[in-house]
């Protein structure tokens, strides 16, 4: 064989790869995308689900709630993970595109505010949080701490946590000086290293496996205007709704899943006691009775 002919063999490995294709062009039958807060949780759920349903093929990607919602509206995925509810504008876009949005709650989160352990502050009110994150308060002494600048850590605009926190707590634009970190872990790492830092993360990133606060950060208690300060680690308070920034964690589907579809099986698995055990083990809180009620309206539509 002369030399050039030998190189014609190069494409063989790739052809081998495509030859393994079973005929359908996409063998993944459940594509899930969205919230970075949820991505590890849903990946854990997917892994456990796949163990019992070996024919199911799932893929989970992060990128932020807005990424998942955009992909859902673009018609690219089966389930969008979102740590914030979809906005009216997004729902309008969905109906424009003929998408019959379905909402599912799979867990609860107590969005936690973290500080460096050296910071003497242990509680903050919602108003103070709003002042800090909108830039109206710029030094720690404005809220009773030392005379040092407040360094704000937050998420990027792709994040549902970003949107949720802004709409529920700050109720204004974030200060321009806020540093947009890529994910919850990046915020934890940053606050760990910065004595003047403050950040907001999902409670799963604050607790370790035993339910205690991880090394190097302190989670502070939040109070509404006149109530007692509540800790995000207080599971009952979060479930009762006493913790001011607790939130449901959502998944959105583009239509009611048909009976027997992988999507339906996955949703039921998530709501089951096995699924909720994984939710708790991944650092979130199990869904409340009200959430179960809301989910049942969706599950009832499946036929």
């Amino acid at each position: 064989m002369s030399m050039p002919s030998r190189f014609a063999l190069l494409p063989l490995p790739l052809l081998l790869l495509t030859a393994c294709n079973r005929g359908t062009s996409n063998t993944t039958n459940l594509t899930i995308k969205g919230s970075d807060t949820e991505v590890q949780l849903v990946s854990n759920l997917a892994k456990a689900f796949a163990r019992h349903n070996t024919s199911a093929h799932l893929s989970v990607t992060g990128g932020g709630s807005a990424t998942g919602i955009a992909s859902l509206l673009n018609g690219e995925i089966d389930i969008a993970n979102s740590s914030r509810p979809m906005s009216d504008a997004e729902r309008a876009q969905a109906s424009e595109r003929g998408i019959d949005l379905q909402e599912f709650i799979l867990a609860r989160d107590g969005l936690s505010i973290i500080l460096h352990p050296e910071n003497p502050i242990t509680t903050l009110s919602m108003q103070q949080l709003s002042d800090i994150y909108s830039g109206r308060a710029t030094r720690w002494k404005d809220i009773g701490g030392s005379d040092a600048p407040i360094v704000l850590y937050g998420r990027q605009s792709t994040s549902g946590t970003f949107g949720f926190f802004r709409d529920t707590v700050v109720k204004d634009d974030y200060a321009q000086t806020m540093r947009n970190m890529e994910g919850n872990q990046a915020i934890v790492d940053a606050v760990r290293a910065d004595a003047n830092g403050i950040g907001y993360v999902g409670v799963g990133y604050v607790k370790d496996d035993q339910g205690n606060v991880r090394d190097g950060i302190s989670a502070i208690l939040i109070s509404l205007k006149n109530s007692n300060p509540v800790s995000p680690l207080d599971r009952e308070a979060v479930k009762r709704g006493d913790y001011p920034i607790s939130r449901p964690i959502y998944q959105y589907l583009p239509a009611v899943p048909p009976r027997g579809s992988p999507a339906e099986a996955f949703l039921r698995f998530e709501a089951s006691s096995d699924g909720q055990a994984i939710v708790e083990a991944s650092g979130f809180y199990a869904i409340t009775a009200e959430d179960v009620q809301r989910n049942s309206t969706l599950l009832a539509k499946i036929h």
């Binding site: 807005a66 990424t67 990027q156 605009s157 321009q176 540093r179 940053a190 003047n196």
Partner: protein, 296 residues
């Protein structure tokens, strides 16, 4: 060169030639295509955003609580700050390394060193970003007593490291390209080695050196991963080297995933891409021009 020998060519020859021509055409098509595509997408952005707000505005906040703002001012400043820092770090270092390689080192050392330095070009930028996060940013924070090491300085130095091999390599090519006669003549006239380098070799190669710096700049402007991981990502216009910055490349990589296709935000990111493309095109064009100018 070779003149085409006239032959009666069989059809297969013509077909092959035609196929090859189409393939070559593809490359030009791609370049024009990328540009056209960015341009057309950006035009749609300008239906909703006024060009003056885009180019002159200072605040970029497409998902604002209040009104969306589309000014690229702070993004451009971020790109400028990080690029300048990187260039100031990498250009002198690259040039002096190249001088060492081409004028001072022994041939054996040169044979080993040149590929080693080119190896730095092979370091994926995500690796540099990771090491920046784990080691370099804390180092900067400790050295300058900052609370956080994710800022324009850290990003600038790491991006400079990424561009260093390009600058060093092309400078070295330019310096080696200077004919030996010049050096020999200078030394024969009694000049010292350094005087020869400074007054004879460097001026002779200055077009190539300028081209090297331009190529390095092109690489620097386009760097995405390092700035994504260590530049601090804050939308405020950077006030100093120690402020966080959010260059254009990082903005595109961050926000593209959340945009709905066809929305203004989607098109505005392509407008950002167009600006990036034009910047790097300009820089590469100048570099190209400099390389092809006849040096001494």
């Amino acid at each position: 060169m070779l003149k085409r020998i006239r032959q009666r060519l069989p059809l297969s020859e013509h077909i092959v030639q035609w196929c090859l021509m189409c393939t070559a055409f593809l490359t030009v098509l791609l370049l024009i295509g990328i540009f056209l595509f960015l341009f057309l997408s950006s035009l749609r952005a300008f239906r909703e955003i006024t060009p003056s707000e885009f180019l002159l505005g200072n605040s970029w906040n497409p998902v604002s609580y209040h009104r969306a703002s589309w000014g690229i001012g702070s993004l451009l400043q971020g790109t400028l700050l990080v690029s300048t820092t990187a260039l100031l770090f990498a250009a002198p270092l690259g040039l002096f390394t190249a001088i060492y390689l081409s004028e001072i080192a022994r041939p054996l050392v040169r044979e080993i060193l040149k590929p080693t330095i080119e190896m730095i070009a092979g370091i994926p930028s995500v690796v540099l970003g990771l090491l920046g996060l784990l080691f370099f940013a804390p180092l900067i924070a400790k050295t300058f007593h900052l609370s956080n090491g994710l800022n324009a300085l850290t990003a600038g130095i790491l991006v400079g490291i990424a561009a260093l091999p390009t600058i060093a390599s092309v400078c070295e090519d330019a310096l080696s390209g200077v004919t030996r006669r010049y050096r020999e003549a200078s030394l024969a006239l009694g000049a010292t080695r350094w005087a020869t380098i400074r007054r004879v070799v460097l001026p002779a190669a200055h077009h190539g050196i300028a081209a090297a710096i331009m190529l390095g700049l092109g690489r620097i402007i386009g760097e995405t991963m390092i700035v994504l991981m260590v530049a601090g990502n804050s939308l405020a216009p950077p006030r100093s080297l120690f402020s966080p910055a959010r260059p254009i490349t990082a903005t595109i990589a961050i926000e593209i995933k959340e945009t709905i296709i066809g929305s203004t935000h989607w098109h505005s990111l392509f407008a950002l891409g167009l600006i990036l493309f034009l910047l790097t095109f300009l820089v590469n064009f100048v570099a190209d021009f400099l390389i092809h100018r006849r040096t001494l």
